[in-house]
Amino acid sequence: MNREKLVERILLICALSAIFVIFLIIMFLFKEGLPILKKEGLSFIFGRFWEPSKNIFGALPFIIGSLSVTFLALLIAVPLGLFCAIFLSEIAPGWAESLLRPVIELLAGIPSIVYGMFGLIIIVRAIKVSIGLPTGESVLAGGIVLALMILPIIISISEDSINAVPRAYKEGSLALGATHWQTIRNVIIPSASSGILASVILSMGRAIGETMAVVLVLGNVEMIPRSIFNPAEALTSVILLEMGETPVGGTHYQALFAIGILLFVIVMLLNTASILIRRRMR
């Protein structure tokens, strides 16, 4: 009996390890980043200039950079992903489904650095040539690359929620004489809307937190982009690019952790919202 209690204790510790890691992450982010956030206050978030050499730290260009790339990615990936999900659950014949499913799984498996490389060499060049920009590295390139990356998440979660729509709703609509598309538009999509929303919010969190794909195609200019053809820099990129060149414990180091806090808070809010929506759905 004692041995069983002992094993139970050990397993409980294993089960709590994920929560323990979350606490450690929060602790260390705030330990390093909070001092500068407290000192600079709102001017850290709304400051328009980032000049570490002059001790000026304003994260607004990166916040706007991250948000604009993310919204552009959603604009491209949500319609495409939703259509794929509808295709899979409503009209795909068996062979098409068994072709498309592994494709989506493989797309989800490709590492972000490879998406970034593909973006830099194909998409950035295509934008440069077709629009005639001096450099193709831009918000537009970042949005397209991120759209490819979040597509699998949008498809799989929207499809789950479309499949969860009760059969009777669909049959009722068809029995009333609606066509298949009218049923999809007026019955299935509205009933699945909360799951679709959850997938959009979750993929928004993924897009904002993505580093490697974005850093290679955005151009990394510390300015607020005026249009989607301007280069920009994301919150994640600043951390990646500047972490290596800064002394541990200095103001610049703390400022990068403060950016980490901003990123963490934004992504956690989005993820929690998505989890809550999906839980309510069930």
């Binding site: 089960a15 979350i22 592994p102």
Partner: protein, 280 residues
Amino acid sequence: MNVYKEEKIMKTLLWGSALFTVFILIAILSFLIIKGAGALSIDFLTKIPTDSGEKGGIFPAILGTLYLVTIAVLTAAPLGIGGAIYLVEFQREGIITKIIRFGADTLNGVPSIIFGLFGFAFLVYYLKLGVCILSGGLTLGFMILPTVLRTSEEALRAVPRGDKEGSYALGATKLQTIRNIVLPQSFSGIITGIILGIGRAAGETAPIIFTAAILNPVLPKSVFDPTMTLPTHLYNLVSEATPDKLLNAYGTALVLVMIILITTYSALLLRRYFTRNIRR
């Protein structure tokens, strides 16, 4: 608009978006294969890089990724599987299981660059492990912990109740039942979760770039040495793109993607095989 015309147009659009998704995968894979196949050779896989990656192979990077993934699995597998056994066998569904699951889901959503910051501040600097394989492997291990935990949980839950009750009825203790009935039956499901974790850990760049990676092609002697890795080597080649570096970058990317797609796909096949057998 005519209802039937609309129906036709929308169905064409649905087919079109599915085809486009397939096209994206084909485009990325053929891009890698066409550009990268020329770089691949036995020498490329077994030699160390020279002239900062312009010549030579990627052997230290392959080895480094292997080491990191091994440590990541050694970290995540015991914690994840142990946690899953606790959730399924020792704890009734309630507030505690909800908290644990919420913790795992939250950890799953943490951006990879944050893991990098955390690994640097906690493991490299606070615990004074330094930039080394151990720091990077642990960071990756924390990152894939939720994947292992949740897939193991699913596999354990799929074990039929009757089998467990049969074991108890024969007088077996809880630990005996877990060891002799539950774990053998859920084994392939648990392995699937670990392989999925391996696929994710092998491709991540941001968590290891401050915690484990160096540019020098030195073979590590112990887990306390830093190492080259495939993703960070690829990042360095691509971000300082000269024509020679780019050719080697394509080759590196092809090797990385092949490793990941083979592991991920074998996990998916295993899962399909496993769910089919359970239903029977």
